[in-house]
């Protein structure tokens, strides 16, 4: 298959059955189908099981700090707008340590794609609660069950001003791939929340759990330009769990508003000494 060119000498190390395998495959397929050259792609990974995908995709890669994939991705994109920049994060990464960056990236709208592996647990640190854990979830850091209200990344993203908001599921690879492609193609910050069973530490939100519940918004003719409708769907979680595109707007990406981004990408311009004499005037 064509996607083999995206493999590296490293094999994934996730638990057998982990939802990350599917996400890994669909990212590669999406990139392949979009025909983006590997060397024009930069993937920024967070720290966690999700982020451990780092070694296994053959594009430029940056393994960031826990919680900090977004700012690095934003900086890279602003400095080289010709790159396709994707950030891959866990839900602890994205919504625990990295919450502030998430909210601000949504308002900033730099043209990158954010894939958040929502397994509702801290996988790599072997099973503490994530902000997405359901109320009452028993974990190593919440042995009496989670007290806090569950973080809903989709409704947060809407409230923060996100311009492309979707949800995929590791158990629906075809749709997931399409959502990733749509996200990458969206001009602006795109957010894809990905339901990802953690077979080792989350015995609640399993494949069967999701298989019984997920449905496709697009199959139900959800309109994606109605914020209120999107928020209504965003808050649905229980018997039925919506997947697909919740919301998409048409506003310009951040960098489209910067005159200095016109022309060649910053990083591809030859660095030359600037003549700064003209800057002296205000100081004379």
């Amino acid at each position: 298959m064509a996607i083999e060119k995206f493999n590296t000498i490293c094999s994934p190390t996730w638990c057998p059955g982990c939802g990350n395998y599917s996400i890994w495959n669909e990212i590669k397929r999406a990139l392949d189908e979009l025909g983006i050259p590997q060397h024009k792609t930069l993937i920024v990974y967070g720290i966690g099981c999700a982020g451990n995908m780092y070694n296994t995709i053959n594009t430029y890669a940056w393994h960031s700090l826990h919680g900090r994939s977004i700012p690095t991705a934003v900086g890279a994109k602003l400095a080289n707008k010709d790159l396709t920049v994707i950030a891959v994060a866990g839900d602890g990464d994205a919504l625990g340590e990295g919450m502030a960056h998430f909210i601000h990236a949504l308002r900033g709208n730099v043209n990158i794609t954010y894939l958040v592996h929502e397994n509702k647990v801290y996988g790599l640190t072997t099973g503490q609660t994530a902000p997405t854990s359901e109320k009452g979830f028993v974990s190593k850091s919440t042995p009496e069950g989670v007290i806090e209200v569950t973080t809903n990344p989709v409704s947060l993203a809407l409230a923060a001003g996100g311009g492309f908001i979707a949800r995929g599921y590791a158990g629906k690879p075809q749709q997931l791939k399409d959502l990733i492609k749509l996200g990458i193609s969206h001009r602006g910050f795109s957010f894809v929340d990905i339901l990802q069973p953690c077979v080792t530490f989350n015995k609640i939100n399993t494949y069967p759990y999701y298989n019984e519940r997920v449905y496709d918004l697009q199959a139900e003719k959800h309109v994606t330009n109605d914020w209120g409708a999107a928020m209504g769907k965003a808050r649905e979680w229980g018997e039925r769990i919506p997947t697909g595109v919740f919301y998409q707007d048409k506003r310009e990406a951040y960098e489209d508003d910067l005159p200095q981004e016109k022309g060649k990408p910053l990083a591809e311009r030859v660095v030359v000494k600037r003549q700064v004499r003209t800057l002296y005037k205000e100081f004379n």
């Binding site: 000498i9 400095a79 790159l83 960056h101 591809e268 000494k273 700064v276």
Partner: protein, 587 residues
């Protein structure tokens, strides 16, 4: 007062009344008249209400230090007189409004203070324009005192308010009224300045932060991300204001963690990138600093210091962050730390640090402080010609070798660098320890090889970075040891020493604080190996309480500098106190 003209003018009033802008107009007028000006502001971390002062020392020769003795004091309120009284030099003039402030002849007698009352309130009531016009009246009055031509001030006002004709007219009226009121009644003999007007473009009145900004622009800065924090904010604002015009991308990030990671992202793909903050923001960048080092990303981080810990004293000065930035970030990794000694070095390092970052592929930290960063001084246009762009081992698509390995083990510790976007250069930039290709690795051999390789960069850099510089004779009786922003004040103090001490004092000044060469330091401080300072005294001068450079010198060279002059009250060294300290050590 020396044979040559050098005097200090100070204006004080409530925060928020544009005292500083007024002062800058006065300073520029002096500058264009052929003099050198150097300023100093004290303002609280408040927007209004607190006590604000602005002072300028003006001289025929360059000035680099704050003078404590005030020769002309403009008091916009009573508090200024009370607060600044002890600073007045013998025979100083006090400009005030006797309709509002009582200042008795008796009080003035002891110091022979010259009272110069100007009816500020009456004038501004007559011409209109509000409280803020007091400053302009005061400048007019001050100019008259030293016979500075009114035309020069009018000119500057006209330039400043170019877009607001009304403001020009009003300000000029205020200037004239202040000037006229003083002209005939008073003069101040010692201060009458010899005018040798210089062409406007020959001199700049500029702060260290702005000089650093211009330096970085000269050096090809492409990307800046930051979050405001006094006293670094004017660095950030300088770039914000120039971004479109100079074609760099500027981002006000949501916090400092984001700022450093954004800048790293930009640097990773090949932009010349920088971030700036003060200590509190830098404390949030430690993890990023380590990532920068382990991913071998060239980045410049500026810390404009203020007194800590925590929020500390936001609008005051300190050199307390040296050990902190040297060790910020978990684990062990190389970094370069440099501290500009004056405004010119702010420019030079602003440009050169970008080269160092790329040549050695590591974080370069510039340590400035409130005194240097926010202080304005007179300089000649910067040495632009000396600026070079050196990108080190940067590859192009054509020069990328087969089986390219980004983190190849090399002799000098630096490995050729491809950029995302380049064909055949794909690599993995890891925050974990890694193989030469950049894949995560936990093998003992990879770990040791990469730690050693990274460490070798500092040995490489040490050969090329500027060594500590000795100002004065190697045979001086007293060697002062200092770093960063204290350079100007110390050199000025040495210059101002009584004649009998001239030539007896040198300054060993550190601009590069890390890496340090312990052996070279020994050689510079010891008269014979193992014998420190035979018949010679070494004194450490730092604007902090621990004597941090002293700690590092002992750590690296074994030399303990026992005599220390440490100041940590938030104020910079005043030239008079330095003269006193130095004299003490010479006696």
């Amino acid at each position: 007062m020396q044979h040559e003209v050098r005097f200090t003018w100070k204006i004080g009033g409530e925060a928020g009344f544009g005292i500083k802008s007024a002062g800058i107009i006065f300073a520029k007028a002096c500058m264009r008249s052929g003099l050198y000006a150097f300023d100093y502001t004290e303002y609280p971390s408040l927007i209004r209400g607190g006590h604000n002062t602005y002072q300028v020392t003006v001289g025929e020769r360059p000035v680099h230090a704050v003078h404590q003795a005030v020769d002309i004091l403009v008091a916009l309120n009573k508090h200024t007189i009370d607060q600044q009284w002890s600073e007045l030099s013998h025979g100083a003039a006090v400009v005030y409004d006797e309709d509002e402030i009582k200042l008795s002849a008796a009080k003035c007698q002891a110091k022979n203070i010259q009272r110069v009352s100007v009816p500020f309130k009456k004038i501004i009531d007559e011409i209109g324009g509000g409280e803020i016009m007091r400053n302009t009246v005061a400048i007019g009055a001050s100019a008259a005192l030293i016979h500075l031509p009114l035309a020069m001030l009018n000119q500057i006002i006209t330039e400043l308010f170019a877009s607001k004709p009304d403001a020009i007219a009003l300000n000029i009226k205020a200037l004239e009224r202040g000037y006229a009121h003083v002209k005939d009644d008073h003069k101040k003999e010692g201060l009458i300045i010899k005018l040798e007007p210089v062409a406007r473009e020959k001199r700049l009145y500029i702060s260290g932060n702005e000089a650093l900004g211009i330096g970085a622009l000269a050096g090809g800065l492409d990307f800046f991300a930051g979050y405001p924090m006094t006293p670094s904010t004017t660095v950030l604002q300088y770039f914000a204001g120039k971004a479109v015009e100079q074609g760099l991308v500027f981002k006000h990030a949501e916090d400092e963690i984001s700022a450093v990671n954004m800048a790293m992202g930009a640097a990773h793909v090949g932009a010349r990138a920088m971030t700036a903050t003060s200590g509190g923001g830098f404390a949030l960048m430690g993890e990023g600093l380590g990532l920068c080092a382990v991913s071998e990303t060239p980045l410049v981080l500026v810390d404009v210091q203020r007194p800590g810990p925590a929020t500390g004293m936001p609008t005051w000065t300190d050199q307390g962050d040296l050990q902190f930035v040297l060790h910020a970030g978990q684990g062990e990794f190389p970094r370069i730390i440099a501290a500009p000694g004056d405004i010119e070095e702010c420019f030079t390092l602003g440009a050169e640090s970008l080269n160092w970052a790329e040549k050695y592929q590591l974080p370069v930290i510039l340590l400035s402080d409130k005194f240097l960063g926010e202080g304005y001084g007179t300089v000649t246009p910067f040495a632009e010609d000396k600026v070079t762009i050196e990108r080190g081992k940067l590859l192009t698509e054509k020069t990328i070798p087969k089986n390219y390995k980004r983190y190849k083990i090399t002799q000098d510790g630096v490995s050729p660098r491809a950029l995302p976007g380049m064909k055949n250069g794909i690599y993995w930039a890891d925050s974990y320890e890694h193989t030469e290709q950049g894949f995560s690795s936990e093998l003992a051999s990879d770990r040791v090889a990469q730690v050693d390789k990274r460490a070798r960069k500092l040995a490489t850099a040490l050969k090329e970075l500027p060594a500590p510089k000795l100002y004065g004779s190697t045979k001086a009786q007293l060697i002062l040891v200092a770093w960063g922003s204290t350079k100007g004040p110390i050199l000025d103090a040495i210059e101002l020493l009584p004649k009998k001490y001239q030539g007896k004092v040198s300054l060993l000044h550190f601009t590069v604080l890390w890496p340090l060469d312990g052996k070279a330091i020994r050689a510079q401080l010891e008269s014979k190996p193992g014998l420190l300072a035979r018949g010679r005294k070494v004194v450490l001068i730092e604007n902090n309480s621990n004597g941090q450079l002293g700690e590092l010198i002992r750590q690296e060279s074994g030399i303990e500098i026992k005599d220390k002059v440490l100041k940590y009250d938030g104020r910079p060294f005043f030239v008079e106190e330095l003269v006193q300290h130095i004299t003490h050590f010479l006696q």
